[in-house]
Symmetry: D3
Amino acid sequence: MPIVTIQQFPRDVEQKRELAERVTDAFVQAYGISAESVQIFFHETDKEDWARGGRLGIDEG
Amino acid sequence: MPIVTIQQFPRDVEQKRELAERVTDAFVQAYGISAESVQIFFHETDKEDWARGGRLGIDEG
Amino acid sequence: MPIVTIQQFPRDVEQKRELAERVTDAFVQAYGISAESVQIFFHETDKEDWARGGRLGIDEG
Amino acid sequence: MPIVTIQQFPRDVEQKRELAERVTDAFVQAYGISAESVQIFFHETDKEDWARGGRLGIDEG
Amino acid sequence: MPIVTIQQFPRDVEQKRELAERVTDAFVQAYGISAESVQIFFHETDKEDWARGGRLGIDEG
Amino acid sequence: MPIVTIQQFPRDVEQKRELAERVTDAFVQAYGISAESVQIFFHETDKEDWARGGRLGIDEG
């Protein structure tokens, strides 16, 4: 604990690497817990599998 | 808000397009909120990754 | 299947009752499946437990 | 109900088949419910999409 | 890893204690992993916050 | 998008306020997106509803 789940459109591994480091540090700073206690999961969603306003992401302007 | 997550077996994009439109409209009608405030995520699961009664979907009749 | 999870701010039971009926009907219409195959879960989140733009919901104007 | 979601690194179908059977039996024994009432979803995560201690799984020793 | 999430109607702590033990053992047996690597989360849902067939759990016979 | 879900033991609002600010900033820095595009949900879990190694949190040491 804590377990962090991030739903996002696909991103390259370099961006995920940097984000994982920064998000983990956010927990260390705000909660005073060890970095090792933080687990992060990325759930990447294609634009075909997300909608807003009733329109799929692939159909947006 | 709201965020809607739909776990289902894979379906073609045409069905997801129609469902996203209809589900969003359900929120507009029942809650009186704007369509733009509704986000939908489809999480599609293969039959190998789902079980009922202790049997994987790929092993069912 | 399908399993629908709705994350939202708390709403009264009358609104959830109407939404559940309308969302289920959306699946019946779009996918041609039986109403009985649709399960819906409401996960209600207090404004203290949600943030956008780095501000908790309880701190928004 | 109940709905069981398992987040794990990818495993072969033979292991998932055995696990689904054993987890379902755990519910039957502990809760006294029917096996048919238990649904299980496997959400498999690649090592690129998981981090602990601020390091992605692909970067671990 | 693995992370197990169980969505269920509320149950007493004695049943959850027994289930956690049995489910963890299922992973140890099927995957050959250590019990310590298994984390379980119970997400309990009231009958007002679940629906099947378009009817809330509180409205079922 | 992105949607961030944090599963944790209950914490006071002051800590969640600080964490939300820092996690949002992590996305702005790593992905170059606007703070407004980041939504965070806290899912707090009591020690009765979490287990590791087959033992509920309330039964640990």
